[in-house]
C-alpha cells in the first residue's frame, strides 16, 4: 500500500448561515443549525492539528464566514498555527473597522464572490441586494497588502454579461479573477435546468476568456475551466478523493468534499471526537475512494486515471445512482447518455449530436428559482 500524503488545504466551513440565498449554493440542502457549530477553541485546535499534519492553507468559507462573530480570532489562530489564511466571502456583513481587524489578524487572501456585473440580475440570483456592498469592500481592500481574487459565478443567466464582468475586474484590479461555472450539487442541482448554459454559450465564453487571459497576463491572473458537463473528461474532483483537501463542516464532520454527504452510507468522523491525523489517514470515509484500488472500468484501464482519478464520486451518485462508477460526464463512461440527455433538455445540444435519449434524472425545467434557505 502506498503512503498517504498529507492534505495540503483545509476547507473550514465555519457556518451555514448566510445573508445571501444563491440559487446555485454548493452547500448541502440539509443545513447545520447555529447551535451545532464548532466553538472558537475547537477551530483553533483543528487548525493546529492541520498544520502538524502538513496542511499549508486554510480556506475559511461557509455559508458566510463573516457571520461568525469570532472570525478575527479564527484567522489569528490559523496564522499562529503557521497556515496561509484565505477568506472566501460574499463581503457581507462587513464594515471598515471589522475588515481592519481581520487584516491585522494576519489574513493573506480574500476571495470575494460576485453574482454578475450589475445589481439587478445579481440580486435575482442571490435573492438579496448586495452588489453595491461588495463594490464598497473592494475599495476598502485597496488600503491593505492582502491578495484579492474576484470570483464570478457564471451560468446560463449571466454569461451574456461576461465582457462587463471582465471590465469590472479590470476596474477593480485584483491579483486574480476566477470565472467559475456553476457545478451541479446542492442547491444548483435543483435549479440546474435554469442554470445550465448551452454549448454555444460555453464555446463563446471560452473564446472571450482565453483572449482576456492573454491580454491581462502579468497584470491580473484570469482563471477558468470548461464546465464539466461539456468536457470530454471529468474534473479531478478536489484533486482526488482524500488526496489533497480535507473539508470540515460547521458541526465538525471531516469530509473529502462539499457534497460527500449525498452519497448513501457515508459516515463521517467528527473533529470533536478524533484527532485530524487519525481521520485523514484511517477513517472509512477518506479511505473509501482513495487511490486506485476502487476504480471501475473504463477508468482502471485508462491513462486519464492518473489525471482525473475517475472524476467526481458525488456526481456519479447524483447522475448514475452509484458513487463507484466512472463520472458520467466522461465521454468514455457507459452512463454518458444521461448527461447528453440533460444537455439536450437544456437546449444545449442538437439531437444529431446525441445518442438515443434515456430517461433523465428527476430535475425538470421549472419556472421559478428555488432559493437557498437559512439553517
Amino acid at each position: 500500500m502506498k503512503a498517504i500524503l498529507p492534505a495540503l488545504a483545509l476547507i473550514a466551513e465555519l457556518t451555514h448561515r448566510c445573508p445571501l440565498h444563491c440559487v446555485y449554493c454548493s452547500n448541502p440542502r440539509e443545513l447545520t443549525r447555529k447551535e451545532r457549530e464548532l466553538s472558537t477553541d475547537v477551530w483553533a485546535r483543528v487548525l493546529r492539528e492541520a498544520a502538524e499534519l502538513g496542511v499549508l492553507q486554510a480556506d475559511f468559507t461557509g455559508g458566510e464566514p463573516l457571520a461568525r462573530p469570532d472570525i478575527v480570532d479564527i484567522i489569528r489562530a490559523a496564522r499562529r498555527a503557521g497556515l496561509y489564511a484565505s477568506l472566501i466571502t460574499s463581503g457581507v456583513p462587513l464594515d471598515e473597522r471589522r475588515l481592519e481587524e481581520i487584516v491585522n489578524a494576519g489574513l493573506d487572501h480574500v476571495q470575494l464572490s460576485f453574482q454578475g456585473a450589475e445589481e439587478e440580475s445579481a440580486s435575482e440570483f442571490s435573492g438579496t441586494r448586495t452588489h453595491a456592498a461588495k463594490l464598497r469592500v473592494t475599495t476598502w481592500l485597496k488600503r491593505y497588502r492582502v491578495a484579492l481574487t474576484l470570483n464570478f459565478v457564471i451560468h446560463r443567466g449571466n454569461l451574456s454579461q461576461l465582457e462587463q464582468m471582465l471590465a469590472l475586474a479590470e476596474e477593480i484590479e485584483p491579483q486574480r479573477v476566477e470565472f467559475a461555472h456553476v457545478q451541479y450539487y446542492g442547491w444548483a442541482y435543483v435549479n440546474r435546468a435554469r442554470l445550465l448554459p448551452t454549448r454555444e454559450q460555453v464555446n463563446h465564453s471560452l473564446e472571450i476568456l482565453k483572449k482576456a487571459e492573454d491580454r491581462l497576463r502579468g497584470h491580473i491572473r484570469v482563471e477558468y475551466v470548461v464546465p464539466d458537463y461539456y468536457s470530454r473528461f471529468p474534473k479531478a474532483c478536489m484533486g482526488g478523493w482524500g488526496r489533497k483537501v480535507m473539508l470540515i463542516s460547521p458541526n465538525g464532520d471531516a469530509m473529502p468534499c462539499h457534497a460527500a454527504a449525498v452519497i448513501p452510507g457515508m459516515k463521517f468522523e467528527n473533529v470533536q471526537t478524533q484527532p485530524l491525523r487519525e481521520i485523514w489517514e484511517n477513517s472509512l470515509a477518506f479511505q473509501k475512494f482513495r487511490g486506485e484500488d476502487w476504480l471501475p472500468e473504463p477508468c482502471v484501464s485508462c491513462d486519464q486515471r492518473a489525471r482525473d482519478f475517475g472524476g467526481c464520486r458525488c456526481q456519479a451518485f447524483l447522475l448514475a445512482k452509484d458513487a463507484a462508477v466512472t463520472d458520467p460526464v466522461c465521454s468514455l463512461s457507459p452512463h454518458r447518455s444521461i448527461v447528453n440527455s440533460i444537455l439536450r433538455d437544456a437546449g444545449g445540444e442538437s439531437n444529431a449530436e446525441l445518442n438515443t435519449p434515456v430517461p433523465s434524472t428527476e430535475v425538470r425545467p421549472s419556472t421559478n428559482w428555488i432559493y437557498r434557505s437559512n439553517p
Binding site: 498529507p6 495540503l8 498544520a51 502538524e52 499534519l53 502538513g54 499549508l56 492553507q57 503557521g82 496561509y84 484565505s86 493573506d108 487572501h109 476571495q111 491593505y144 497588502r145 492582502v146 491578495a147 484579492l148 481574487t149 491579483q175 486574480r176 492573454d214 491580454r215 497576463r217 502579468g218 497584470h219 491580473i220 491572473r221
Partner: protein, 94 residues
Amino acid sequence: MAAPLSLEKRPRLAPGCRLGQTAQQFRILQMPERALRLNGSSLEIIQRCDGEHTVREIISELQDIYSKADPLKVEQDILDYLLLLQNERALDLE
C-alpha cells in the same frame, strides 16, 4: 501580455505572497490557492524581491554567489524565473 522586464524595476512580492515552509522543512512561496517549492537559487531570487533590489542588482548578486556558472546563463535564468513569477501574479514591479 506581460511587458519585457526592465532591469531597473524593483520587484516586490505581491500582496498575499510570502515565504513559508512545509512540515518537512521545504521552503515554499505561498500564494492564493497555490504554493511553489523553492530550491537554492529560486529562494535567493525571491529573498531579493523586496522592492529594494533592482532586477540588475539581483542578477549581479546572484552572479557573485554562483560565480562558477556562466554569467549570461545566470542572467537568463533569473529573467525567466521573474517572468514566471510575474505570470503567476506573484510580483509587483515598482
